[in-house]
């Protein structure tokens, strides 16, 4: 955009005052309200990505709800054709990054700036807005030292994953929290971490972690402790360092509970009550979660530690104050005593100063007992933290802080981290998970020796874990155990196919293949051709165990019925002489057949006659007719079923 150009017929561009990855910032004049404003204009390259635009607008709108003297006010969000812009309060000043010029500022000024930033972020949190991208580049400071924070929520729009394939929008990794590095959701605690990083920079003139690449920096956020601010700027008092280091805790649960708590911790750091505050011990929530217990070695000198289950309360320093003070008193009495004993005040001072400092010995690798006595001999207070380790034997010192060779005052607390032996984990419950999910979960927990067995199961789906060899909840060292998972191969049962229409032989083969016992039954059927299976028991679709009887009903074809056959018989009567009266004969025909025994005919005839009669023959039976003439059987007519059938 050129100076003189107008946006929305209202804002006249005066000058470009900044440019970021996604937007340029201009100073402009609002001709309606007659005031100077800053306008952030989305670069036209990105004004075609609708999803991004929507998000950009939504986040900008959310930020308009914030009204606070330390937050750059948003006046207007708009678009004109392809131009997307945010109209903001114009701050006549420079960014905090420019202001610092890579040098640290006085502790007093750092706290004054930090207090304002905290107020801004606290206000946003109260309105449920997380900044997510707190960095000195997002803070404006004017010539009166007023600080205003800007770009609320924009980070979310920027990190939109569906935005173009990206290479430079990693954002500033110097201030983001370990959880943001991991891609976890950023919340209030992430903002507190970033505030800690900004305070670190105000106090030391450099960011907590310096690396050649963003990945190198991100990795340090995840793994490393920053150099202690006191080592970079001797003016930083211990309580303030404590505050910074707590905000920069890796675990969100170990940081201050709120921005207000962080602010209070900062703002009281210079108070007289806290003047003798010792180095605050890292209260790492995660470590506590992993069976870690602070072991008091010098019980009376150990500051109270909060209950492992609760996050570190902000008021810890109040609780730790008392015993420490007592200890210091003892020291002063001791030194005074020396002074008195030696006499001369100058000499006494020098001796006292020499006495009060000692070289920290190297105790890494020693047993806890040796390390403790060695350190105590040098006049240090020993604090022991246990941590699981695969490499260092139980009871041996893994690391120490301060390092060997440092020359802190005697009475300083030296923290030694002692191995609690190999790390144990709680055996997870993987039953019911898929094999791959279970394996992944176990491998993530460093279980390397997995054994897979398979088994049929009626209740567990194929591929899912039926059982595990170690009970859930059991504490084990993953590298030392073998975990056997029994994975289901699914049900053994056979779901019966529909065999209707198959031949018995085919069904037999099917039964053999599926280890079923086949039983045959035959039935007549008018619809199923002979030899084919009519139906089955159990019915198709039933899941059965191997060895089950499978009854198939095979068609015998159409049921045969009785057959009728017409038969004829010729009964001859001898013709008498012409003059003689014909002599009558009695003819009786009886049938024995499917109908039983029937007399079908009784007749008297005088001449040869042909009779017909019917035989009804049942399957495989024989029908018989007897023809009697005058009481004498003259003929027997037997017809088999087959013959009758054939004659049809």
């Amino acid at each position: 955009m050129r100076s003189g150009e107008r946006i929305n017929d209202r804002y006249r561009i005066e000058q470009q005052i900044g440019s970021g990855g996604m937007a340029n910032v201009y100073r402009a004049h609002d001709e309606i309200l007659n005031r100077t404003v800053a306008i952030k204009v989305l670069r036209s390259e990105f004004s075609h990505n609708e999803q991004f635009i929507r998000r950009f607008e939504r986040e900008a709108h959310a930020a308009t709800s914030l009204n606070h003297p330390n937050i750059v006010a948003i006046y207007d969000v708009g678009d004109e054709e392809d131009l997307y812009y945010i109209v903001m309060e114009h701050v006549d000043g420079v960014t905090l990054k420019q202001y610092l010029q890579e040098e640290y500022i006085s502790v007093d000024e750092a706290l004054r700036i930090m207090g304002q930033i905290c107020d801004a972020i606290d206000h946003a949190h109260a309105n449920r807005i997380i900044h997510r991208d707190i960095k000195p580049q997002n803070m404006m400071i004017d010539q009166h030292g007023n600080v205003k924070v800007t770009d609320f929520g924009i980070a979310v729009a920027m990190s939109n994953a569906t935005l173009t394939h990206t290479m430079s929008v990693l954002g500033s990794v110097h201030y983001f929290s370990p959880e943001q590095a991991r891609g976890k959701f950023a919340d209030e605690k992430s903002d507190i971490y970033s505030l800690g990083a900004v305070l670190y920079e105000l106090l030391t003139g450099r960011v907590p972690f310096i690396g050649e690449t963003p990945v190198a920096v991100a990795l340090q956020h995840l793994q490393d402790d920053p150099i202690r601010p006191m080592d970079l700027n001797p003016n930083v008092p211990q309580p303030l360092e404590n505050c910074v280091m707590q905000a920069l805790a890796k675990s969100p649960g170990s940081r201050h509970v709120s921005v207000a708590a962080f602010k209070k911790d900062c703002m009281t750091a210079l108070s007289r009550e806290r003047a003798n505050e010792p180095k605050r011990l890292p209260v790492n929530q995660e470590e506590f979660d992993q069976t870690l217990v602070m072991t008091p070695v010098v019980a009376e000198e150990k500051p109270d530690t909060p209950a492992p289950s609760s996050p570190l309360p902000v008021s810890t320093e109040q609780e730790t104050k008392e015993p420490v003070k007592k200890k210091k008193h003892k020291w002063w009495i001791w030194i005074l005593l020396i002074i008195v004993l030696i006499g001369g005040s100058i000499a006494a001072y020098m001796v006292a100063d020499e006495m009060s400092r000692a070289v920290v010995p190297d105790v890494v690798g020693m047993s806890i007992g040796d390390a403790t006595s060695e350190l105590e001999n040098e006049g240090f207070v020993v604090e022991v933290t246990e941590r699981a380790s695969d490499d260092v034997k139980e009871g041996e010192v893994i690391s120490q802080n301060p390092q060997e060779g440092r020359k802190p005052k005697q009475g300083t607390t030296v923290t030694i981290v002692v191995s609690a032996g190999k790390e144990t984990v709680e055996m997870p419950n993987v039953e019911g998970l898929s094999q791959s999910a279970a394996e992944r979960m176990l491998k993530d927990l460093a279980f390397s020796d997995l054994e897979i067995k398979t088994e049929a199961s009626e209740t567990v789906d194929s591929g899912d874990v039926i059982s595990q060899s170690l009970d859930p909840g059991e504490e084990v060292v993953p590298s030392e155990v073998t975990v056997t998972l029994v994975v289901s191969t699914g049900s053994n049962k056979v779901e019966l196919s529909n065999l209707a229409g198959y031949t018995f032989d085919e069904a037999s083969t099917y039964a053999d293949q599926n280890k079923l016992k086949i039983v045959r039954r035959d039935e007549f059927s008018t619809s199923v051709p002979k030899g084919q299976i009519i139906r089955q028991l159990p019915t198709a679709g039933t899941a059965v165990d191997p060895g089950t009887e499978l009854t198939v009903i095979v068609s015998e074809g159409v049921e045969p019925t009785d057959v009728s056959i017409e038969r004829e018989v010729n009964v001859e009567v001898e013709q008498p002489d012409e003059d003689e009266q014909p002599k009558a004969v009695e003819v009786v025909i009886r049938t024995v057949d499917a109908r039983g025994e029937i007399e079908v005919l009784r007749d008297n005839i005088t001449e040869t006659t042909t009779y017909s009669y019917t035989l009804v023959i049942a399957p495989d039976e024989v029908g018989t007719a007897t023809i009697e003439v005058d009481g004498e059987i003259v003929r027997t007519d037997s017809v088999t079923y087959a013959q009758a059938k054939e004659a049809q």
């Binding site: 036209s44 390259e45 075609h48 173009t164 990206t166 290479m167 990693l170 891609g183 990945v215």
Partner: protein, 244 residues
């Protein structure tokens, strides 16, 4: 030797910023994919610049392994300069492209990549990924800080740490292999691997179908699972090498 490639806009994007090039034959050749990025047409132009650079360069492909590596680096530098210059002229802040390429000449195979486009090789019954993504999440994963699962859902999973066009100097990963026993090589953009698992890729590559059908099948698989990005695959099947 059979060659095939496919490039597809996917189901979500309105443009295809990927580009692909396959040139050559069984004796020598180059297969290359590029996944461009940047607003407007910047992504398409960036990936196209790389393709055109290698199209022009291919006739001058040298034969010795050392010379091939040098040839690759030289033309990547040239492409990088062109992208940087175009971005500068057009006042674009974010313009760049990934690149994954395979070049074969005689018995030598050279694998090159920048960014999160990948090269896979199928040997016997194993699919191997030959490239390590130059991405923020993959680097954290290599350092043991992220699991495969966390990587897949990380909001910054598509942030790459190297690209042509991102800085004056671009450092490709180059692997020179003598007589590798590959059955086939797949070169693809992250539009494929975002959705399709290595197991599925292997299954597709092992099917008894033409190399063309395999390429098509990979595109289909990615689109069925969402097709959230442009998808590009190039396949090189060393049919005659298989016996060796």
């Amino acid at each position: 030797m059979e060659l095939a490639f496919r490039t597809d806009r996917g189901q979500v994007r309105t443009q295809n910023e990927d580009a692909v090039l396959i040139l050559g034959d069984a004796l020598s050749g180059v297969a290359l994919v590029a996944d461009g990025m940047g607003g407007h047409a910047a992504g398409e132009i960036a990936s196209q610049i790389v393709i055109e650079e290698f199209r022009r360069a291919f006739p001058y492909l040298p034969s010795s392994p050392i010379e091939i590596e040098r040839w690759f680096r030289h033309h990547i530098d040239l492409a990088n300069e062109q992208v940087l210059q175009f971005a500068k002229q057009s006042n674009l802040v974010m313009m760049g492209t990934t690149m994954a390429a395979v070049c074969w000449n005689g018995e030598t195979v050279v694998i090159v990549h920048i960014g999160d486009s990948r090269v896979y090789a199928l040997t016997e019954n194993e699919l191997r990924r030959l490239t390590e993504d130059h991405s923020y999440v993959n680097m954290l994963k290599q350092l043991g800080e992220l699991t495969e699962e966390e990587m897949r859902v990380h909001p910054k999973r598509n942030v790459i740490t190297r690209a042509i066009g991102s800085s004056d100097q671009v450092e490709p990963d180059v692997q020179v292999l003598a007589e590798p026993e590959f059955e086939s090589i797949l070169i693809c953009t992250d539009g494929l691997t975002t959705h399709v698992t290595d197991e599925v890729i292997q299954r597709v590559l092992q099917q008894a179908v033409t190399v063309d059908q395999k390429a098509e099948q990979l595109i289909v698989e990615a689109n069925q699972l969402g097709g959230s990005d442009n998808i590009t695959v190039a396949l090189v099947q060393f049919t005659d090498r298989k016996r060796g």
